[in-house]
């Protein structure tokens, strides 16, 4: 890195190159912690991109090296969305962690994930020993339910948006959901995703942030606690973040949620 505070770049991966953006700390000395941010996917990725940038900036100001990156088939990374698989995305997060440790000379990792990104981050944490802290922001707990929610939103979109699916029928081989082509294999992967079934604690310290209602939140808290994680809960009701919007000129960034996450990370990642 050349001394700037934001460093966009591509890093190599056998299955396709990934785009990432480092946010380097202006504080000297910086902390011995790297933070990897796992985006949600599809329409939620577009909607929360600005929030993640702000979150990474806030973390960098507190002395953390933060990396946000695009999974294979998403954002600026190689590949098409319809080729994506959950296993690929889990590997991508692992690769991002390895890069942060190597590039920053860092030994300790905090993962922050939102929605499906949170489920992926938890899956990664449970499969590694170097993730010490984990933030799950409105995590997808049951993939099957998540797919049902997306399909419901898609039906709402068809009802209210100025679109006529009779003139633009779906493309073959994919399930069209909110403007993105979900491959059948990805749908199967999501259907079998279940955070309540993970077998190892994903991190020593976990922050569970809820801005919307979820009837399995308590069950997830219990599961993580039973695996030996120290779980903190923060409920910050923010229904405005989840209202359907057709026009992204109205994207919101919840400073309250971001500051809550940053405060917890500062407190736990010392």
């Amino acid at each position: 890195m050349d001394g700037r505070q934001t460093y966009p770049y591509y890093f190599r991966l056998r299955a396709g190159q990934l785009f990432g953006c480092y946010h380097a700390s202006p504080v000297t000395p910086a902390r011995d912690w790297g933070v990897v941010l796992s985006y949600p996917v599809g329409r939620e990725y577009i909607r929360f991109h600005r929030s993640f940038r702000e979150l990474a900036n806030l973390l960098a100001q507190e002395g953390f090296l933060a990396l946000r990156f695009d999974y294979y088939g998403c954002g600026d990374s190689a590949g098409d969305f319809e080729e994506a698989r959950v296993s690929q995305w889990v590997r991508d997060i692992g690769t991002a962690i390895d890069r942060v440790k190597m590039d920053g000379g860092i030994s300790r990792i905090c993962l922050i994930g939102l929605r499906l990104g949170a489920a992926l981050a938890a899956t990664v944490g449970a499969g590694r020993t170097d993730v010490d802290a984990l933030v799950l922001w409105d995590p997808v707990i049951e993939g099957r339910v998540y797919v049902e929610q997306l399909v419901t939103l898609h039906r709402d979109m068809l009802r209210y948006a100025h679109v006529d699916p009779r003139q633009w029928p779906g493309l073959p081989g994919v399930r069209e959901i909110l403007g993105f082509p979900f491959g059948e294999s990805l749908i199967e992967d999501l259907d079998s995703l279940d955070l309540l079934a993970i077998q190892r604690r994903p991190a020593r310290d976990v922050l569970l942030v809820s801005t919307r209602e979820h009837n399995k939140r308590a069950a997830l808290d219990s599961r993580l606690t039973s695996l030996g994680a120290s779980v903190a809960l923060r409920q910050i009701p923010s229904p405005q973040l989840w209202v359907w919007i057709e026009d992204f000129g109205q994207v919101l960034v919840s400073r309250r949620v971001l500051q809550c996450i940053v405060n917890w990370v500062c407190e736990r990642c010392t």
């Binding site: 190159q17 329409r43 190689a78 209210y160 006529d164 909110l178 403007g179 993105f180 026009d247």
Partner: protein
């Protein structure tokens, strides 16, 4: 500064560009492979939609960039300052001026990177408006593909501006309600009580009394402004493509200003127009996205290269 990405499946490369004088703007340059590239083809620059970052709605800009680059044209999609991964500016230059400057810097950067000297600007909504503005003031622009632009053909500071916007608004809701692919759906929602309050309120506001200016004088003046702008571009040999979704309010603005003169302008080569039926502002349906990519890539090839 460039960091290259090699893509095995398509004959293109993608690299990160960081450039700009006031702040470090971030973009992705997608180039044809060595065997296909030519410095004589124009480069395409994609401009942000609203506050969305450079991938565009539903990742549409990525699809456009990769398809068009695969045809032999370098494509840059970048974030204007304060959007996406580009930091905000620290000077006090208003966005209306700085965005034009940053787009011109982007062209200079692509020229340095590829040797290309001519450019096609492209964008949806605000990106389209900006493309048109820069096309009007920079001789390096040889074409602009404007997708769902609004209020770009007349001077927004003109006293007719509010009348034109109101008239386009009324026209839009009337057309959508009675003469569009969505009419049956809208009335079904009304009858079943499922019409969204926000949509209903907005539609009803459109039917408030308008200003006192004479309708024909205002729209004629706006049409003359549009003609002057488009004629100036045509004299420079700049090709302009307007793409409108059937569901977009911009289509009604376009028809309000140009009206019956649209055919005349097309006949004189001042502009090309495509209307995409059954599509909304940001092309929520996959097949409509594919259609936009096809239109754009075909137009670039036919209008600017063949």
């Amino acid at each position: 500064m460039h960091r290259k990405l090699g893509l095995r499946k398509m004959h293109i490369t993608e690299e990160v560009l960081s450039f700009g004088q006031a702040t470090s703007l971030v973009g992705i340059l997608t180039c044809p492979s060595e065997t296909q590239s030519t410095v004589h083809s124009p480069a395409v620059i994609l401009l942000n939609v609203g506050i969305m970052h450079r991938v565009g709605p539903n990742r549409l800009y990525v699809k456009v960039a990769r398809r068009v680059a695969g045809q032999g044209f370098p494509v840059l999609r970048f974030d204007l300052s304060g959007l996406g991964d580009s930091p905000a500016r620290r000077d006090h230059i208003p966005a209306s001026k700085s965005r034009i400057g940053e787009t011109r810097e982007a062209m200079s950067q692509v020229a340095m990177s590829t040797g290309v000297q001519e450019f096609v600007l492209m964008g949806i909504c605000s990106g389209a408006n900006l493309s048109y503005k820069v096309a009007c003031c920079d001789d390096r622009v040889v074409g602009a593909a404007l997708i769902n632009p609004r209020y770009h053909l007349h001077d927004p500071g003109d006293k007719s501006d509010s009348y034109l916007r109101h008239r386009a608004f009324v026209r839009h809701y009337f057309r959508i309600a009675f003469f569009s692919s969505f009419s049956a759906k809208i009335w079904s929602n009304v009858v079943t009580g499922q019409l969204r309050r926000q949509s209903a309120t907005r539609a009803l506001k459109g039917f408030a009394p308008s200003g006192l200016l004479s309708r024909s004088r205002v729209t004629a003046a706006a049409a003359n402004q549009a003609e002057a702008g488009l004629s100036a571009l045509a004299r420079r040999g700049v090709r302009i493509l307007h793409i409108y979704s059937e569901g977009d309010e911009g289509l009604d603005y376009f028809r309000t200003v140009l009206g019956a003169r649209t055919e005349e302008f097309e006949g004189r080569g001042l502009l090309d127009v495509e209307v995409i039926p059954g599509a909304n502002h940001t092309f929520a349906l996959l097949a409509s996205q594919e259609h936009v990519v096809n239109i754009v890539s075909r137009w670039i090839r036919k209008a600017l290269w063949d």
